[in-house]
Symmetry: C2
DNA sequence: TTAAAACTATAAAGCTACTATAAGGTCAAT
DNA sequence: ATTGACCTTATAGTAGCTTTATAGTTTTAA
């Protein structure tokens, strides 16, 4: 399978595949005589794994870590559990921060009900005067 | 006021101030004979405005847009309202996406209760097999 | 058969919003 | 005279790709 087919199969761009290879997330495939990369089904699985991890919000470094666990299948998987726990708490703190931000934005938005002149705009005034009860 | 004082006043690094100047968000200040930047109170206000916008999650491009409205104080402020509305809905969709992600991660986490061998780890199996009811 | 379209390759730059590093000039105090 | 704190510019690094440039190869259509 060539790079274009693999890309279509998994739903990524060809450049992304080359990028993962360069980053050491995808093993370098064999080459044809003309230099074209030749992929196996294993590469497809590896690439799909990476993409699912990315959809879950894991960083490339975290994915690399998971791969290192996969390569040593008889060790305990507590590290995998810990990685996921860390990631979950990271996601949760992001949610909390964004919810606080949303509240702040909504209250700022309420300070101006359309169609004033910019000079009297409650939003710009609100930002300029810094009445943003932070934290 | 020199750049270090301004930085301390507003709570940013000096490089950040130079960066904003280079990006056209902060007007180039006068220079002393030795080339040092000299800032006025106006610069302080401008910088504080930028920082408050950044805390609200606005991009530098959005801040630039807001500044252009400030420069023309007699036009209607509907564009300002619209910018904020867009930003609020952007934040809300981020929150929604992260909440869905959290759910997915928690269910994945539940598929492995510690201390198995990596080979049997429910988390890695879950990602590999792709039983991630997406969307 | 030939020419265009589609695919592949590498290398380098661009994106965001800074942060960090390097190499050097200026100024006040010791 | 030199130390230290400050200032200058220019360049590279961060994450995870995407875009662009340039060029070679294969496939398809005329």
């Amino acid at each position: 399978m060539r790079i274009g087919q693999l890309a279509q199969l998994v739903g990524v761009e060809t450049q992304t595949i080359r990028f993962y290879e360069q980053q050491g997330l995808l093993p370098p495939p064999d080459r044809q005589d003309n230099g074209y990369r030749v992929y196996t089904e294993k590469h497809g699985e590896g690439l799909a794994f990476i993409r699912r991890c990315r959809i879950l919000g894991l960083s490339l470094a975290e994915i690399h870590e998971l791969q290192s666990y996969q390569d040593d299948p008889h060790q305990s998987c507590t590290a995998v559990n810990a990685l996921l726990d860390d990631h979950i708490s990271h996601v949760r703190s992001q949610i909390t921060a964004l919810q606080a931000l949303e509240k702040q934005l909504v209250s700022l938005r309420a300070s101006c009900n359309d169609d004033r002149e910019v000079e009297a705009c409650g939003i710009l005034a609100g930002i300029s005067e810094g009445n943003m009860h932070q934290q």
